[in-house]
């Protein structure tokens, strides 16, 4: 029998456990995509119960539905245009007042609302007394008490969705006594729904000064002038609307929510005394991030060998399977395509470990504190504290680092951060650098590796200053971020977080790298099959006049070209050209190039260009060819100039 489909939108503020509810309900039965034409992630999941198929769309977490940000616009447009059968609003029982602000706006758009009253354990831990029965009565809406992280209340929520679907609720109108006069006046001038939005909603949004609504009304309404006079009549209209909403909330909660006279000092308060301490907060933050890097590299070291062996085993399996093919094709598959696949796979353990730690930071609530303690130093780069996290992620891999810039609201801030991200040395770049430094400077490899981190830090600060002054001439957006309560991480949430990040890395990086690896293999084998007179070598030799100024030979130049595909491909290309690998390649390089050239090469490959997968991500995230090309040429020009000057200084000093 065909199941009845119920379409549900899941709404709520950030940090109320909305994603936890979504993940607990749908598990792996969900898929991620983007909202049409937008870079914001859209997640849809399914639950089956009795004769119903419940399709849940996870709306972006928002505090409001005013068009301040893309997320808020997406959330409200989904409700109006897609008309879900039911909107489930998840609220945090421990800060109900602010959470119900979103409810006030939802009630103006949709009538079938179910409230998931989450984190009731936190609320009672603070000594709050909540009369749920009275709360239901006052609102006239179903309210389900929940502790989503422990799975409590989930079944009841699903049952309530079905119940509300079968017996629709009556629509509720909120009265704002202090605003009714002006709302009525505006409603009479609007006379019909605007693009599907009810007139009452439109009237309130106009009073709030909502840009999108204002623009639409300006174009569509004949007597706009009289509307404008009412709306702009009082400067404080936006705050009047906000205050009216909070007054309604106060009336709802009066006698429903009782707070103790003296606030209990919570775990969060005690931890924050340490983690956000004006002096110790920052060193602790840096220590935690450093520890994550240390542990990531240590664990990777442990896993790396068996994993490489496993991949090698796989490779021999593939060459046996394809043994029926002519040699040229077999080489393309093994040397080209498989090389790309194994490159991507060889990073997988690193990415998984790194994101495990990041998931822990986020799920415990610490990540927001990191934004607080780093805000001051991030001002050096012309950015605020929220930008710190994408930069940290970029140390693992630039692709998720660029994606993480989505948390920034201002577009210019985002583009600036994306450009700075690409100067952060990701793990593959460090691998290439370690090889060269180990061969040329065995005694000082570690110190010189640290010098690379120093150069990268310098480049980030320098570019941040220059770009903020010359290109993005806006002032720094001030930090404004909620600090959620600390909690123990949930296994399921952490695993889903890692899976989500890994999946997008594999898809994004995988497709680009595998495709380009195939092309590079073809270019390095045509026309004769010998790489030293291949098309690729010709390109390298043609570019030589430019790169010989940095002291590079054509082999290194070709290594830089393939390094664009994936940074560590530089090494395997050099291996192919010299026909050697590992320590033999090392001694060949020792004979061919000077230590200064080697160091210059390492610095250049650190800075010159983000890899192809990152460039593809930059394009996707900025949705602008102009900014993508700008990011590309900026890093290329910067790397060239920096390495050129460094090379000259080193030559001078050594002489």
């Amino acid at each position: 029998m065909e199941k009845t489909k119920i379409r549900v939108a899941l709404a709520g503020n950030p940090n109320v456990g909305k994603s936890t509810v979504f993940n607990q309900l749908t598990g792996l039965n969900q898929h991620t995509g983007n909202w049409p034409g937008k870079t914001v992630e859209k997640r849809v999941g399914y639950i089956e119960k009795d004769n119903y198929l419940i399709e849940i769309t996870d709306l972006p977490g928002t505090y409001s539905l005013t068009a301040h940000s893309l997320e808020e616009l997406i959330a409200r447009e989904f409700i109006i245009k897609e008309k879900p059968d039911i909107v489930v609003l998840i609220v945090d029982a421990s800060c109900l007042e602010r959470n119900l602000y979103l409810l006030a706006q939802l009630l103006e758009l949709h009538s079938n609302i179910v409230i998931g009253l989450n984190m009731i354990d936190v609320s009672s831990g603070r000594g709050y007394k909540l009369d749920i029965e009275k709360f239901r009565e006052r609102l006239g809406l179903p309210v389900i008490p929940m502790v989503a992280s422990k799975g409590y209340g989930l079944e009841e929520l699903v049952q309530q969705i079905i119940d509300t679907y079968t017996n629709k609720t009556v629509s509720i109108k909120i009265e704002y006594p202090e605003l009714e006069d002006v709302i009525r006046k505006l409603e009479s001038l609007l006379d019909s729904d605007i693009e599907g939005y009810p007139t009452r909603w439109t009237a309130l949004k106009l009073l709030e000064g909502d840009e999108v609504t204002t623009k639409i009304c300006k174009e569509k309404i004949k007597n706009w002038e009289s509307i404008r006079q009412i709306v702009e009549g009082r400067e404080d209209n936006p705050v009047r609307v906000a205050s009216a909403r909070y007054n309604w909330i106060k009336k709802i909660l009066d006698g429903v929510l009782e707070k103790p006279q003296r606030q209990v000092i919570s775990w969060t308060d005690r931890l924050d005394d340490v983690f956000t301490h004006p002096i110790w907060g920052l060193p602790i933050g840096i220590l935690i991030v450093a520890l994550i890097f240390y542990l990531t590299y240590t664990f990777n070291e442990l896993i790396n060998e068996p994993w490489e062996r496993f991949l090698g085993f796989f490779e021999s399996g593939i060459s046996i399977i394809f043994s029926f093919l002519p040699e040229w094709w077999r080489n393309l598959i093994i040397g080209g395509i498989w090389q790309g696949v194994s490159t991507v796979l060889s990073f997988t353990p690193l990415i998984v470990i790194f994101f495990l730690f990041l998931a822990l930071l986020e799920d415990t609530g610490y990540l927001a504190r990191l934004a607080f303690v780093t805000d001051r130093i991030m001002h050096l780069l012309g950015l605020h504290g929220k930008s710190f996290i994408p930069l940290v992620i970029s140390f693992g891999c630039n692709v998720p680092g660029v994606m993480a810039t989505r948390t920034l609201e201002d577009d210019k801030d985002r583009v600036l951060l994306i450009i700075l991200d690409s100067f952060i040395p990701c793990i593959p770049r460090i691998l290439v650098a370690s090889f060269f430094l180990g061969v040329f400077f065995p005694k000082y490899a570690f110190i010189l590796l640290l010098s690379l981190y120093g150069i990268s830090l310098f480049s980030v600060i320098f570019s941040g200053l220059i770009l903020r002054k010359r290109v993005f001439k806006t002032s720094i957006t001030p930090l404004l971020i909620e600090l959620p309560i600390y909690k123990l991480p949930t296994l399921k949430i952490v695993l889903l977080y890692i899976w989500d990040k890994l999946k997008s890395f594999l898809i994004r990086a995988g497709t680009v790298i595998i495709f380009l690896s195939g092309i590079i293999w073809i270019l390095s084998n045509l026309p004769s099959g010998d790489i030293s007179n291949s098309i690729l070598a010709q390109v390298g030799k043609a570019l030589l006049p430019l790169f010989s100024k940095l002291g590079f030979n054509w082999q290194l130049t070709v290594g830089l070209i393939t390094g664009f595909i994936a940074k560590e491909a530089s090494l395997s290309t050099l291996g192919t050209i010299y026909g050697l690998s590992g320590s033999e390649l090392g001694s060949a390089l020792l004979r061919e190039i000077s230590p200064i050239t080697a160091y210059s090469f390492v610095v250049f490959q650190l800075l010159y260009i983000p890899c192809a997968a990152t460039v593809a991500t930059i394009y996707k995230e900025t949705n602008s060819l102009k900014w993508t090309l700008f990011a590309l040429s900026f890093s290329l020009a910067y790397a060239y100039l920096f390495t050129f000057i460094l090379n000259k200084i080193l030559m001078f000093v050594v002489r």
Binding site: C95, E97, P238, R262, G385, L479
Partner: protein
């Protein structure tokens, strides 16, 4: 009258007014920062501050903290 930036750690205050454009004022209101509301300054630093308002902790950049004006609240629970 003073700004949030001038408050001491642990001090309570009642919000009087918020300086700035309509968009900014509304954004703050949606996070619970409205005139008449009580705030506690939970943490200060060389950079941003942390305030508690409507049961939520918010980190505010210095510029924002400077544009919110409060009056002192004395209810015997003040502390330095």
């Amino acid at each position: 009258m003073k700004t949030i930036l001038q408050m001491k750690k642990g001090e309570r205050g009642r919000i009087l007014l918020i300086k700035g454009g309509k968009g900014k004022v509304l954004r703050l209101a949606e996070l619970g920062i409205t005139p008449g509301e009580e705030v506690i300054l939970a943490q200060k630093s060389f950079g941003p501050v942390i305030i508690k308002v409507k049961d939520t902790s918010l980190a505010l950049g210095r510029g924002l903290a400077e544009s919110i004006f409060v009056e002192e609240v004395s209810n015997g629970e003040d502390q330095d």
